[in-house]
Amino acid sequence: MGQAIPPRSILIVEDEPFIRYDLVDFFEDRGFKVFEAEDAEEAIEVLAANASVRIVLTDVQMPGSMDGVKLAHFVRDRYPPTILIVVSGMANPSAADLPDRAVFVGKPFDPRHVLGVIDHLSA
C-alpha cells in the first residue's frame, strides 16, 4: 500500500453479518478502509463520524424504519458526491425510486464487478 495515496473509504450496510464480513474482507484485501453498519441508523452515525467515506454500498431490505433506498436518498442529499451502490435480492427497483447516479446491483453479485463500477465512477 503506497503511503502517498490515502486509502479509499467504503461503508458497507448489510444486516446479514456473515455476508457483511465477507464483503469487508473483500474490500480490505483490496486496500480499502472499510466501515460497516447493520442498518440505516448505524450507517448514518458512521457517515457523520467519518467524513472520509465517499463510497456507500447498501442492501435494500434491512430491519428498522429506513430501508436501503431511503438511506441512498439520504446520502445523496447529505453527501452529494458519494458513490452509491444499492444491492438487493428483490427485483430491480425502478430508476425513479433510486437517487441520481445510484447504481443498482442484483444479489448475489460478484464483488469484483462492484469494484469495477466503483473504479469507473471514481475515475
Binding site: 446479514e16 456473515f18 455476508i19 474482507d25 473483500f26 435480492g89 448475489p108
Partner: protein, 467 residues
Amino acid sequence: MIRTRPSSIFDRIVIWSFDRPLSGLTRYTVAALVIVLVAAARILFVPDELPWLLFIPAAIGVALVLGQGAGLFAAALSTAAGALSIGSASNDYWLPEPQWVAAGLFVVILTGMVMLAGELRESMRRSVSLNAELVERERSSAEREAFLSSVLAASTDCIKVLDLDGNLTFMSEGGMKVMDISDFNAVRGCPWPEFLKDAGSVQARAALDAAAEGRSSHFEAAADTHIGIPKWWSVSVSPIPGPDGHPARVLSVSRDHTALHEAREQQQLLNGELSHRLKNVLTLVQSIANQTLRGAHSVEDASAAFSSRLASLGRATDVLTTTAWQQAELHDVVDAGLSAVSGMKDRITIDGPRIRLNSQVALALTLALHELATNATKYGALSKDTGSVALRWQVNGNNGASCFHLIWQERDGPPVVRPTQRGFGSRMIERSLGAYFRGRTVLDFPAEGVVFRIDAPLGDTGELIDS
C-alpha cells in the same frame, strides 16, 4: 282463460260421455232401448194426434250422448215406432195419407237435427281435447318457468340481463344475494359498467359493444358489492338474440372469484418471496465459499470443507421450511448443526429449554455448531473414544430483559492446543455469531477441552416457548 271444468249440466253430461266410450253394439242397444221406452210413454201418456213430439228430444239426446251414428239409428227407429204406434191395418197403407207426409217430414227434420247434434258433440269433443292440451301446455310452461327461476335463484353467480345500452333490467335472486342487494328496484335501470372499478368499467363497455355485434366475451375485474365490500369477479358477457336473430339484450354473468384472486396474489407474493430468499441463500453460500477458500490449504481441503458446510446449511433449510422460513426451534437447529456427528449422539449431552429463533440466527447457529462439531471430531474431544461434549443452554430473567446463555464444553479429549491460524470456523463462530445474536461470544482453548459460550439478550433473536 282456459276452462278446466265444464260449467253447465249439458256440458257435464256430454263430457261425462266422452270419458266413458261405449262399444258400437252397446250404443245402438241403449239407443234402441231409449226409443222403445219413449214409444211406450208416448202410447201411454200422449194422444195419437201428437205421435212424433216426444221422439225429437230423445233422438237429439241420443245423438249428443252416444254420437251421430246412434242418433241417426234412433231417428230411424223413432219414425218406425211412431208410425207403428198410430197406424192400423184398416188403412190401405197402415197410415192415413197425411200421416205418411208427417212421417216423411219428421224423418227428414229429425235426421237434420240429429246430424247437427252429432256435429255439436264432435265440436265439443274437439274443444275439450283442445282445452286439455292448453291446460297441459300451461302446466308445463309454469313448471318450466318454476324450474328456470329455481335454477336462477340457486346459482351463486350474479346473472343479469341488460339492455343494449348496458342498463340493468333483471338480476337473479342469487345474484342479488352475492351483490348484497335487497331490492332490485334500487339498481333497476342503472348502467352496469359503472359498478366495476377502474379498468373493469372500460372492459365492461368493450364487452357490451362486442355483445351488440353478436360476440361473447370474458374478463376479470374488481367491483364492490352494493354495501361496499370489495370483490373480484370473473365476468362473461354474451348477446341474447331477439325474434329477428339480432342481439336484443345482453346477458352478463359474474362469478365471485375473490378467493381465487387472493390465492393468485398470495402465490405471486410467495413466488417473489421465494426468489428473494433464494437469492439471499445464494449470497450466503457465496460468502461461505469465499471464506472457505480464503483459509484453504489445498483445493481438496477447501472442497471437502465447503461440501460439508453446504450440507449443514441444507439441514438448516429443512428446519426452516417447516415454518415458512419464519423461525426454528433451537433443538431442531442443534440437530441440523450436529448432523455431521449424529453417529456420536451418545457422547454429546444436549440440554436446554425450547426456544424459538429467528431464521437468520438459526442459519448462523447451525453453521457455527457444524464448525464446532467438525473441529471436535478432527482435533477435539470427539477425536478420541473417551471424549465427550456437553451442549447446554438456559434463559435467565423475565421476558422484558431475558438473557440467553449457551455453552459448548468438550472434555476428556486429547490436550488442547490453541490453533495458530484462525480459519473459517473460528471466524464464523466468534465474529459472525456474536453479531447475529447481538451479544458476546467466546471461543476458548483451555488444555482440558474447548469451550464456546454465547451470552446475549434474547430480545429480537428469539423467544422462550412456554412448555
